[in-house]
């Protein structure tokens, strides 16, 4: 097999895999030595870059993986996103509101406020960077406190927390 053929085959394999494929496995199945596989991979990778192609070949800890070219990331995101900009679920909105108005708050406080377990939603907001952990409350169990982030402000088009709309009138006073 010529090096060019190996490159094409490698491309096909890595494409179909999506995930990283180990060098070892490639060598074993294709019955090629490591150097040949590596040369083909390197060549393929350089070609992608040189020609500004839409895909890139990554070599990470003895594995190869194809991924989309980072310079197209924004465009790709736009296309693959649903037509309308994604919105938070109503559960996430509720949790975000509680944190925004009463921060810093504990998970127990949020749970009590909503009357349902909010662990999953809190994690989701943490992952999205809309809330962060902010110390612990000085009570037994030392529960984590949460507050909103700048990303939260950005999503809601606010420039500071002072711009939060006023709370509906029948808002009860409450403690942590």
């Amino acid at each position: 097999m010529e090096i060019k053929d190996i490159e094409c085959l490698l491309e096909g394999i890595l494409f179909a895999a999506g995930d990283p494929v180990s060098q070892e496995r490639l060598c074993k199945t294709l019955k090629l030595d490591q150097k040949t596989v590596d040369t083909a991979a390197k060549h393929l990778s350089e070609q992608y870059k040189l020609e500004h192609r839409g895909i890139r070949l990554l070599k990470l800890e003895g594995t190869y993986q194809l991924c989309s070219a980072p310079e197209y990331a924004e465009c790709i995101r736009q296309i693959l996103n649903r037509n309308k900009p994604p919105r938070l679920s109503s559960a996430a909105l509720e949790v975000a509101s509680i944190v925004a108005y009463y921060q810093p708050v504990t998970r127990a406080y949020i749970d009590q406020f909503r009357g349902v377990d909010s662990a999953y939603t809190i994690n989701l907001l943490l992952e999205r960077g809309m809330i962060v952990e902010d110390g612990r409350l000085a009570v037994p169990g030392r529960p984590i406190l949460y507050r909103t982030t700048n990303a939260f402000l950005r999503v809601f088009g606010l420039s500071s927390l002072e711009e939060l709309p006023e709370l509906p009138q029948n808002g009860e006073e409450s403690n942590h």
Partner: protein
């Protein structure tokens, strides 16, 4: 998983014409329908046990199986048993047309259906394409590179609305009036402390008792619960001992307390 190609089924005993080549059918049901259609066999001749034997042998041979093939077999076996059962039942009672008759009739209709014949021809054409097409392997979508908090878009009023909704839910959640529960919990719970007193004085007066006897005479569920909790607490406080005997468990006063009179248990707020 062991890679399996569709197994070949031999239906030698039921195939009337030996000229019909045994094809590599993808499923036994397919084969049977094919043969039925060509009048090579009659449904009455199909020995269900014969096919089942082959099926079971096949199962034994393959510890790990391609589930898809296996499920086809199960479906086939179930179908055949159903047909056979109907046949046997119908032999005894001359009832409505049997599944078998219906199948045969539908097969005849099928033979007559010209449109279907034509479609089958075309289907075979497509089948050849299929063997090429399945080699086009597609990939799963790439996971998004970064979370997309920036692309989320909300207006501040969404927060407002969420809070309003929360408050309205909170109002609904204010505890219902006690009168609702009066029917369900007609009396106050039996105090554990009182029960402990009762149990101790009973043991002092009448000596050791069987465990179950201590629960007897309880008037309500809460009294039973109180008795149970009181027993646990008294054991914990080493006032009484639970001993395993021949007829079950016996409860006696702890020896150190036997001689004392008028014991008042000092059980703190655990009711």
């Amino acid at each position: 998983m062991i890679r399996l190609d569709a197994p070949i089924f031999h239906l030698k005993k039921v195939v009337k014409s030996s000229r019909e080549p045994l094809q590599d059918f993808t499923g036994p049901l397919d084969l049977i329908l094919h043969l039925l259609e060509k009048n090579k066999i009659e449904i009455q001749d199909i020995s269900v046990s014969f096919i089942l034997d082959q099926y079971l042998a096949y199962l034994q041979k393959r510890q790990q199986m391609d589930l898809e093939i296996a499920s086809e077999f199960v479906a086939m076996a179930a179908h055949l048993i159903y047909i056979k059962t109907k046949m046997l039942l119908n032999a005894a009672h001359q009832g409505p047309p049997s599944e078998m008759e219906e199948l045969v009739r539908s097969l005849e209709q099928r033979r007559q259906g010209e449109a279907f014949g034509k479609l089958k021809e075309t289907a075979n054409l497509l089948g050849e394409n299929y063997n090429q097409g399945v080699n086009c392997i597609v990939k799963p979508p790439e996971p998004p590179k970064s979370a997309a908090p920036l692309s989320l878009k909300h207006c501040p009023e969404d927060l407002d609305k969420a809070m309003a909704q929360l408050f309205s839910r909170m109002v609904q959640r204010t505890p219902p009036p006690m009168c609702i529960f009066e029917q369900i919990v007609p009396q106050d719970p039996y105090p554990v402390e009182t029960k402990a007193d009762e149990l101790l004085s009973r043991l002092v007066q009448s000596g050791p008792s069987s465990l179950s006897a201590l629960f007897r005479g309880s008037q309500s569920r809460t009294e039973l619960v109180a008795a149970f909790l009181a027993l646990l607490e008294l054991i914990r406080m080493r006032r009484i001992r639970l001993e395993e005997g021949k007829g079950g468990y016996a409860v006696r006063l702890a020896s150190s307390l036997k001689k004392q009179k008028n014991i008042t248990p000092n059980i703190e707020n655990f009711s």
